[in-house]
């Protein structure tokens, strides 16, 4: 592999390292809080939930579908999770299964609409996101849900194993499972093939609708899991607490498409994207940048990364 190829393939990883180094240097001139083990662990904790949602979304995008409802589905399942425990007084395990089931159901409905009625997933999930918001408001009347959550449940979001937050370990497990799933199993390979060239895949004797459906369900499941973890971390559920995940995870997936397996949504790339977004958030915070700068920088990074890849004709949208 020559230098040009290397930069093409790992340029985004390089950008991650440069951004990291930049904040390390800037903060060294200030109080040097960025490059402490405490803060680094903090960054990982902050990005862990997004990483899980974005990992699920990666599977959908790898299958050639968009899911613009992950944030709203995560908010809804978070509200339901808290509500099941506090209002319905269900055991937390049952509540969790219920909330995750709702995520799967959203994926299932989206998948059915996309495959049966041939509505593009971009539009379908836009609608499903609104439906999730509606159900959310119908259930919680637009209020937050507070109450005593069981310790076993809050451990997911706040607990630590040694110095490592449990949620980071959970995220790593989820990432590993999905990575292995996509790359080492038949279904995973079919999902990648479907996203790569649906016509060729279908002519190869593969029921592509089935795999589009599975991919969208995985995305819904990831969103639900993210929503439940967020509530466990915060100790309460906000009606639109997880809405940001839609844009952040899409940004992470698109940034990820510029690296590792270029032009294709891939798990490791997505993780690079998640880390870039997380470090920018954390770093700007620590160096005392005004809060609005975070979103502007995130938006710019997304556009920059994708525009480079589009210029090299590696990614094509639509």
């Amino acid at each position: 592999m020559n230098v040009g190829n290397f930069i093409n393939r790992f340029g985004t990883v390089l950008a991650l390292i440069i951004i990291f180094a930049l904040f390390a240097i800037i903060s060294a001139f200030q109080e040097g809080r960025f490059l402490t083990s405490q803060n680094l662990i903090n960054i990982l904790r902050q990005v862990a939930t997004l990483a899980i949602v974005a990992t699920g979304l990666t599977v959908a995008v790898a299958a050639g579908e968009f899911d613009l409802s992950v944030g709203q589905v995560a908010s809804l399942t978070g509200i339901l999770m808290a509500g099941f425990i506090v209002r319905q007084e269900l055991p937390w395990g049952v509540s969790l299964i219920g909330a995750l089931g709702v995520g799967l159901l959203f994926g299932l409905v989206t998948g059915s609409l996309v495959t049966r009625f041939k509505i593009p997933s971009l539009i379908t999930t836009l609608g499903m996101g609104l439906i999730a918001v509606g159900i959310n408001y119908a259930y919680a009347r637009g209020d937050s849900i507070y109450g005593r959550l069981p310790d076993e449940y809050t451990f997911i979001g706040t607990g630590t194993v040694g110095p490592i937050p449990f949620v980071v370990i959970l995220a790593i497990i989820v990432i590993a499972i999905v990575y292995v799933f996509l790359n080492y199993t038949r279904v995973g390979r079919y999902i990648l093939a479907t996203g790569g060239n649906p016509t060729a895949t279908r002519l190869s004797g593969i029921n592509i609708n089935k795999y589009r459906m599975i991919a969208l369900m995985i995305s819904g499941f990831g969103a639900a899991l993210g929503g439940c973890i967020l509530v466990s971390y915060l100790g309460s559920a906000q009606p639109s607490g997880a809405d940001n995940y839609t844009m952040d995870s899409l940004a992470a997936v698109f940034i990820g498409m510029t690296t590792i397996r270029r032009g294709q949504a891939n798990i490791l790339g997505t993780i690079v994207g998640v880390l870039i977004l997380g470090i920018i958030n954390n770093g700007l915070n620590l160096v005392g940048a005004p809060f609005f700068l975070q979103t502007i920088v995130k938006g710019s990074v997304l556009i920059l990364a994708v525009s480079l890849a589009v210029r090299r004709e590696e990614i094509r949208f639509f």
Partner: protein
């Protein structure tokens, strides 16, 4: 006549291939100059360079004895060089007038003067001697009319040089005739026309001179009067054409597939039989319904009525998945769109249809076995370079085609009793790979498979088939063993002349 456009020593290299090697080319004003060669010979690269879409690595281009530098297509247009591509470049729901004047709308500030637009379009049509309804939306027009809109638009700038890339590919005979009449008019107006085509009969009908490219070099060039069709073919293909000796079997095996009055919007009452051990050719012009028929037989499209019988039993084929379970596979045309997983490597492409077989009950891929079986297929088909991790995008056309076919060899080592369909198996592959594909197809039949092949290259089709069906406008118009046909008789049946 004067040299209008003169290219000297044009070279162009892409990574791994020399597309053009010191090419000289001269176009005179008022002539139709045919540009011929197999796919990959360098025709499209030369066209791209002339119209500014690609810069040459070296060489000069002179227009009316002035050296010109064209950096992009807009530049070429300013110099009076326009191209009409094979694909239409029209806005479907705009009218003919709007499409013709696209980008040159007369306007007051931002406000388009619709009446002037219409008038200008009308004046242009009059000047060119073309009759069209300017108010029709182009989406409602036939292929020939749509192309005419593209041509008229190209001519609105009064160009000196016009390049037509496969202009007749989508046209009916009547439309082609009409187009040629127009070309003769343009010629008389002094326009130099470069005519890229695969159809020799048309080349001889319309051209004044021709240039033949092979492997990026000019192999011959001169006035049309110096050529015969046989010489042109010889020059295009180079050395002796690899002829395959096919023994027509009077007795083939049992009939594997039979259709009864199969109908859809693209074809009508199709009855055909394919037997084990034979290669059946399906001849027809572009648009006759060949691709649609093949895609229906593998369940990629739906038939409206009629039956498909497999080994005498009626079966319903609703999807390729279904067809494959019955042992019917298609090697599609347009391999990049329909055949390849473009972002994946050779191994992933060769095994995509076989993952069921090479994964365990839990769905885990058996990577070692996949590797072994893909290696076997790769070696058997002599795919170059012999590397499973190469991205299929970087392969040559012939090797891509082998990969698309290879997935079915991986899928089943024993082809006896299977039904293989090939749609344009040698489209855009070089001479060597073409011969390889022929051997592959013949071998399948020899091993007991039933093979249905369709190709726009009639000579090839007649060379490899035991039996032929001729299709015209969605109907089978003739069927019989190959020796009952000649090239000309099939052509006549295809065209309906």
């Amino acid at each position: 006549m004067d040299a209008l456009l003169q290219l000297t020593g044009i070279s162009k290299t892409y990574p791994g291939v020399t597309a053009l090697d010191k090419v000289d080319f001269t176009l005179r004003s008022g002539e139709v100059h045919a540009l011929l060669g197999v796919n990959g010979a360098g025709k499209s690269t030369l066209v791209k360079i002339i119209c500014g879409a690609e810069p040459p690595d070296s060489g000069t281009m002179k227009l009316e004895n002035q050296i010109i530098q064209v950096n992009d297509t807009a530049d070429a247009m300013r110099h009076g060089i326009v191209v009409v591509y094979q694909e239409r470049t029209l806005i479907p729901h705009f009218t003919v007038a709007e499409n013709i004047m696209l980008g040159k709308e007369p306007a007051n500030g931002q406000l388009i003067r619709r009446r002037d637009l219409h008038e200008q379009a009308e004046r242009l049509l009059n000047r060119l001697g073309v009759e069209m309804d300017l108010n029709a939306e182009v989406i409602d027009l036939g292929a020939g009319q749509q192309q005419l809109v593209d041509i008229v638009r190209a001519l609105r700038t009064e160009p000196k040089v016009m390049v037509l890339d496969e202009p007749t590919a989508a046209l009916s005979q009547a439309e082609t005739k009409h187009l040629f009449e127009l070309l003769r008019q343009f010629k008389n107006q002094g326009i130099g026309i470069i005519f890229v085509s695969h159809r020799l009969d048309e080349v001889f009908e319309i051209s004044d001179s021709l240039t033949i490219l092979r492997d990026g070099r000019i192999v011959s060039s001169g006035p049309i009067s110096e050529y015969t069709p046989a010489r042109v073919t010889q020059d295009i293909v180079g050395h002796n054409v690899a002829k395959l000796e096919v023994e027509v079997k009077s007795t083939s095996g049992p009939v594997l597939m039979e259709t009864q009055d199969l109908c859809s919007e693209d074809f009508n009452s199709v009855n055909l039989k394919i037997a084990s051990g034979e290669v059946v050719g399906l001849a027809g012009v572009v648009g006759a319904g060949r691709t649609e028929l093949l895609e229906t037989l593998v369940g990629f499209r739906r038939a409206d009525s009629g039956k498909i019988m497999l080994k005498g039993k009626h079966v319903q084929i609703n999807s390729p998945e279904h067809a494959i379970r019955h042992g019917i596979v298609l090697v599609p045309d347009k391999r990049i769109e329909k055949g390849l997983l473009n972002r994946m490597n050779v191994l992933e492409n060769l095994t995509v249809s076989s993952l069921q077989r090479y994964s365990n009950g839990m769905g885990w891929l058996q990577r070692k076995k996949l590797h072994d079986v893909a290696t076997r297929t790769m070696d058997q088909l002599r795919i170059m370079p012999p590397s499973l991790t190469t991205s299929v995008q970087s392969l040559s056309g012939g090797n891509k085609q082998k990969v698309v076919f290879g997935k079915w060899l991986t899928w089943s080592e024993d082809v006896n009793g299977l039904i293989f369909m090939f749609d344009e198996p040698t489209e855009g592959v070089d001479v060597g790979a073409r011969a390889d594909m022929w051997v592959i197809i013949r071998n399948l039949a020899a091993q007991g498979a039933a093979v249905l092949v369709t190709s726009s290259d009639l000579d090839e089709l007649m060379d490899i088939s035991d039996r032929l069906y001729v299709m015209r406008r969605g109907k089978i118009v003739s069927e019989g063993v190959r020796r009952n046909y000649t090239h000309d008789s099939v052509l006549q049946l295809m065209m309906g002349g």
